[in-house]
Structures are given as structure tokens and as C-alpha cells.
Symmetry: C2
Subunit: 409 residues, 2 copies
């Protein structure tokens, strides 16, 4: 396991139980390096449940969030609710580097994004982007490691359960319209590469920490440059002034404070792309030949009840989404997956990238129940029963681990 | 003009310019009555722009609101935005009586609604309602007097322009499912009558001030008993613990803190129904034979730009809704209605009762423009050009008055 504080841009897990001396020394060393680099607060040692929220997310609803670290806030499972959209103050936060200084929000209209790999490359300010076009798309934002806590091998990184996900209305300009204005993509380009506007701490190799991600050119179909979230200006904590949003793709590809967008022949060699966010077997290091965390598959989980319920008629709630595809249906089981009943979607359909709350009404006698849900996308792909074990605990959409045990009395 | 402080449950307008002595005395007399009745703060004399928000709406975003009085808060036109939903903290507020004491929110699950005019009448607690069924419906909430400020005759009541409206996701149980549980509606009933849980001030005839509204039985198709708004528990300011919501109907019919729902042969004789919210010619008193403010018609308005814009490509934004019907299209004119261009809807369609943000991209040379919008519902009903003058300034959906003059430089 790498001991870099930013290995794959995930926090290392907090030590639980006995920690051997060698590991402790490595971690202290890592904390020292972090302090030198101005990254205190990003150390796993700084993780503190119940501590006040950091300034850049001070406007969030602390009661709805689990603070894993200053850069990793998870929505509590019982706060996910039955909503068609996640309120911004309850949405999870996951930063790969500290957010830029809040002064970048002083002149949002002047924020520039350099567009390269098009026939007429240039920098466009937000004011200019706003005049090119506009669309509102609702999509699920989900961290690659959502569900990591369910991996038994102790995958390193934030131990998210279900709350590193939310459903957001994004308003911005479709990237394809920007590209059209700039003469189209240069021939031979295969990837869309976005670079974040974070400050690279002195003393570190930029490639080792910078947030620069490449996605296949096909993502141009739905990619957007976004300046509003849930009908309010995009806050710094979520990537304002301008964020690259690729509906249907895992969170890491949605580059915050985006300052450069390049159409490129190959993928970036930044660590976060080359070795980070790669799916491989446990114990294997990351490398560019392994699958990258791009498109999200179908997934669902129960949000209520979570621990107890009253006997009689009960309503079981949850959320489901198809990832890059639309959602076809969701089923619920109260006996751990032996028998299934189709649930009903709640509220309007906000499009193929959105999640849909669901509900199943059922009669429950006193006893203990294992509630699980299983969604199917519009291509017929069904959530698998089991997780696929992998080194970093990515992409968990197995329905079994996401179940809850509820006592009905 | 009536001088009752609650005449038709609308605030009287604040005096502007010279006020004759007789009128001033009447108003002071009215203020005195209000003080006696514990209704201070509901007097027009208490209206104060820029004053702090009252406690029951202290969680609202004051920057987005115009405070006409303690009971009447309007969303600023430039805060309406391009959103598919109105954030709760920006939604307008209009109370016909002071909100009940906040202690009613201490045991929301225990709040009871008495259901009458069904074959098995009984009181149902919120906890019981939640087990009957659930749905999420998005609908426009709009005050009957939205647009009143545009009436030239000085219609009494709050001078709303466009911001006594918003689009909200309501979660609750469809009333028809509750009725089914209780054996169906008794034969011969023609109306659904809801009664609010406000405290009737001592010394006043309850019928003169109580919030009790009747709507045609046909509204049972879409009526709901609601406990969540925009995926959060319904706040007191918007009628929590439980509100009657009738999608497509004007705000006044959506009875807050509902404590009784009765299927009745006739309409209630409470003033708010019998003489209030009745459409009649200027100078005519209200009476039960006049049209009641029930179903909303098609309407739209521009939200941006409102005063100035930069020459060149411009995006003109607004919102449109079909009221009780779905929306077919919306057109925009930049020359006060001589030539029209069809605008594009922005974001997903949230159902027939929801509003839809729209946008039109156009090239504007320097000069002065009159921007207007005109929506058409799915029955082919088009917004009229002119308002229909009426005593209380109700139901204004004429497109001409809702235009804005913009200087392009």
C-alpha cells in the first residue's frame, strides 16, 4: 500500500484497534509532510466525528452529514429521504485537494476555462460561456468509493456506506455547444481531459496530486460546463465558479473549479488517472491498463426504515438509479432476497441520469426483517447480489451488502 | 372599500402619498382592533421593507424576499431564477391569520385531521396518514392576488408583482386513498371543505376570519394531505405539520395546518369563501354567486434580464405554467408583442401542475426592448394580452402587464 497522503486521492482509513509501530510511524511521517505542504486537515489524523464543519462547507446542514475528514462529508442514510433532488446543504463533499481560496468566488463571471484540442482554441470566461447556451440536467453525483465500508478487506480510503451520492440539478452549457463555437474537435482526439483549479502545494510533484481526469470522447454527448446547482450559483465546495459535469460518470470525473478542458489523443499521466481510480484485484497496484472509474452502473438502496418499524402496514423507501442508462424498475425484498416485490417510483422522472425515489407498501408482522432492494436499468442490467472485491473498494453496487436489518414490533 | 383588517384576508395597501384624515383614522382604528385581537404585525402599518424577518420565517433567505408585512413575503423577480423547483427558503409566504404557535410542531406525528362526510368518519393522525399511502407531486403554489400591483385601480390587498408564486415538490398521501380507507364519500356531497388550525382571536366572529375553503369535489382527483415540501418536513410557515394541497388551484385553497376535511353538500359560509376570493367588477362587493378563486389558468413571465443586458447574443429566461392543465409552449417577444419566437423549455418536465423554466437565445443590438412572454396550455388556451379588471385584483395572467423594459448597451 502506498503511504502517499494523496494516494489515489482518497484519505487513508483511520487506524482502528491496534496499529503496529511501523504503520504509525509512516502515518506520522505522512502527517508531517501534509503540514509542510499546507494540507493539514486532509490528514486522516484530523478526522473527527462531531467536530464543527470547516469554513468552506460551513453552510451545510451538519445534522445531515457524517464528517469523515475536512474533505470528506457523507450524507447520513436517514437524511437521504424520499426526495427527487438532494438539497445542496445535505449533499456529500469529497475534495481531492483543498478547495482553492474562497477569493476565486469574488469574480465568478471572470473565471476562465482554457479550451484546447479544438480548431479554434481559446479561453472563455464564465460570462462568455453563459451566452453560448444553457441546459438543466439532473444527475446522480456519486463517489467511486461509495459503499467502500462494505468491503471486508479494509479497502483504504474513506469508509463511505451509501451517502457519498446525491441527485442534483445542474445548470450550465452543454460542452458540445462550446465545441461547436470553437470549430469542433481536432481530428484524432480520443479523450476529454479536464484540469482542476486547485493550488498545487509547494514541494510536491504536481502530477502526484493534481486533479486532472480523462474520459472517453463519447462523454461529449452529455458533458456540461456548470455554474448553477439546484438553482443557485455553484458553491466553492461543489466546484464553483465552473465545474465540468459528466452525467452518468463517477464523481471524480466531474472536475471542480475547472480551468482547462482539452481534447487529447491519450489519457493524462497524472497519478489520479494513471494509477488512481483503477479497478484491480486486492493487493495489486494501480496502472493504466486497468478499468478506470468512468460510467456508473445501476444501483439502489433502502433509506427507510433502517432499524425499527411498527407492525402492520409499512412503507419501505429507497432510491435507485441507472447510472449512465435510464432506470427500468426496482424490486424490494423483506427476507434478504428470497422473494421480491416490485416497488413503485415516487414523483416525476427527472431524466435518465437522475435517481428515482421508490416505495413499497407491505404488511409486516412483529419480527426481524432484512430489507434489500435491487434495481434494473433500461438495458436489462440488474444489480448483482455480490460485490466485486477490488483493491480500493470501488464501484460497489451489490445489493446484498446494502441491505438493512429492521426489527418490527 | 371595507376597512376590516381581514377583509377577504388580504392586507390593505400601505398609504402612498397624501392620506386624507378620514382614511387615516379608519386605519388607526383598524390597528387598534388588531392590537386588541393580538394581530399586531398583521396591520399594514407594520409593513416595513428591510426589517428583520419574523420568527416563524426566520430561516428564510431575506435577500431573496420582499417583506410586504409580517404575513406577506414575496420572492423577488430576480431571485426566481431558472430553477425547476423553488428553494423553500425563497418561496413566498402569505398567511391569512397568524401562524399557530410553533409548539404545534413538537409532535407532528400526533397531529390529527378530522375527516367528515365519508362513510366512516374519524380523526387520523399524521402517523396514520403516512401509513395509508404516499406520492410526490410537483405543483405551482400561487396567491390569487399575484400580479395585483399591475391593476391600475389600486385593488386593495398585497401589491404582489410576480413573486407570490413558486414551484414546489409536495410529498403526502393522495386524499382519494384516505377516502377509500374510510369507506368513500357520502352520497350527495359536492364540495371538499378544509379548515385551518389557526387560533381564532378572541372578540372576533370566527366566520369573519377563519380559514375554511370549499373546492369542487372534482379536486379530489389531485388533492393531497402533505407533510413534506422539497424533501424536508413541511415547516410551520408553509402549513406544517399537515397541509391540504390541491395542485392547480390557487394558494388560498391549500389550507395550512389542516385540522378538518369535510365532504359537504354546499360551500362553507365562512367569509373567506362566501365573499372573499370572489371575482367581480370594480366597486362591487363579494358574494357567493361570483366566481371563486379555484383553478389557475395558464401564465408566464420573464425573469432575466429585467433591466439591462449586454449587446450581442442574449439569453432571455422565464417561467411558465399551465395551472390546472399541462403546458404546451411559450413564446417570447422582444418588441412588446409584435413578433414572437418560440422559447425552449429548460430541464425536465416535472408534470402537468409544475412550472417550466424557459429560455430564448436571441441577438440584441443596443437599444431599448420590451420583453414579454406568452404561454399556451395543452388545451390550446393562450395567455390573454390584457388583464381582466376586477375589484380585488385577482387572477392576473395578461401578458402585457408582466413585461419588462430592458436597456441593451
Amino acid at each position: 500500500m502506498s503511504v502517499s497522503p494523496h494516494s489515489e486521492h482518497e484519505s487513508a482509513p483511520a487506524p482502528t484497534g491496534p496499529v503496529n509501530l511501523e504503520r504509525r510511524q509512516l502515518m506520522l511521517g505522512s502527517a508531517g509532510l501534509l503540514a509542510t505542504a499546507g494540507l493539514v486537515g486532509f490528514s486522516p489524523l484530523a478526522r473527527a466525528q462531531g467536530a464543527p464543519l470547516p469554513d468552506y462547507v460551513g453552510w451545510k446542514n451538519a445534522d445531515a452529514l457524517i464528517m469523515h475528514s475536512a474533505s470528506t462529508l457523507e450524507t447520513k442514510r436517514d437524511a437521504i429521504g424520499r426526495g427527487i433532488l438532494t438539497p445542496s446543504d445535505q449533499l456529500f463533499v469529497r475534495n481531492n485537494l483543498p478547495a482553492p481560496d474562497s477569493s476565486i468566488m469574488n469574480d465568478t463571471e471572470g473565471w476562465e476555462v482554457q479550451i484546447e484540442g479544438v480548431n479554434n482554441p481559446r479561453a472563455l470566461s464564465l460570462a462568455e460561456l453563459k451566452r453560448i447556451g444553457v441546459e438543466t440536467v439532473v444527475s446522480v453525483l456519486q463517489c467511486s468509493g461509495n459503499g467502500r465500508a462494505f468491503f471486508p478487506h479494509g479497502a483504504s480510503g474513506t469508509p463511505w456506506t451509501v451517502g457519498a451520492a446525491g441527485c442534483v440539478a445542474w445548470t450550465g452549457v452543454p460542452l458540445r455547444e462550446v465545441v461547436r463555437e470553437l470549430g469542433g474537435v481536432v481530428d484524432g482526439m480520443n479523450y476529454l481531459t479536464g484540469t482542476g483549479g486547485e493550488t498545487i502545494p509547494a514541494g510536491l510533484d504536481p502530477k502526484s496530486v493534481m486533479v486532472e481526469r480523462s474520459v472517453p470522447l463519447a462523454a461529449l454527448e452529455q458533458a456540461m460546463l456548470v455554474w448553477e446547482m439546484n438553482d443557485a450559483p455553484l458553491p466553492l465546495a461543489h466546484g464553483g465558479p465552473v465545474r465540468l459535469v459528466i452525467p452518468g460518470y463517477y464523481g471524480v470525473n466531474n472536475v471542480k473549479y475547472v480551468r482547462r478542458l482539452a481534447f487529447t489523443a491519450g489519457q493524462t499521466d497524472a497519478n489520479i488517472q494513471a494509477s488512481g481510480y483503477r479497478v484491480r484485484e486486492v493487493g495489486v497496484p494501480g496502472s493504466p491498463d486497468q478499468p478506470s472509474m468512468w460510467e456508473m452502473p445501476v444501483k439502489s438502496w433502502v433509506t427507510s426504515p433502517l432499524t425499527s418499524a411498527t407492525a402492520g402496514r409499512s412503507l419501505i423507501y429507497g432510491v435507485a438509479f441507472g447510472g449512465v442508462h435510464g432506470l427500468a424498475r426496482v424490486e424490494v425484498s423483506v427476507d434478504g432476497g428470497n422473494r421480491w416485490a416490485e416497488a413503485r417510483f415516487l414523483g416525476p422522472d427527472l431524466g435518465r441520469f437522475a435517481w428515482r425515489p421508490f416505495v413499497l407498501a407491505t404488511e409486516l408482522a412483529p419480527g426481524e426483517y432484512r430489507l434489500v432492494s435491487r434495481a434494473t436499468d433500461d438495458r436489462g442490467q440488474v444489480q448483482p447480489e455480490e460485490r466485486t472485491d477490488n483493491e480500493r473498494g470501488y464501484g460497489h453496487n451489490g445489493w446484498k451488502d446494502h441491505g438493512v436489518t429492521v426489527t418490527v414490533a
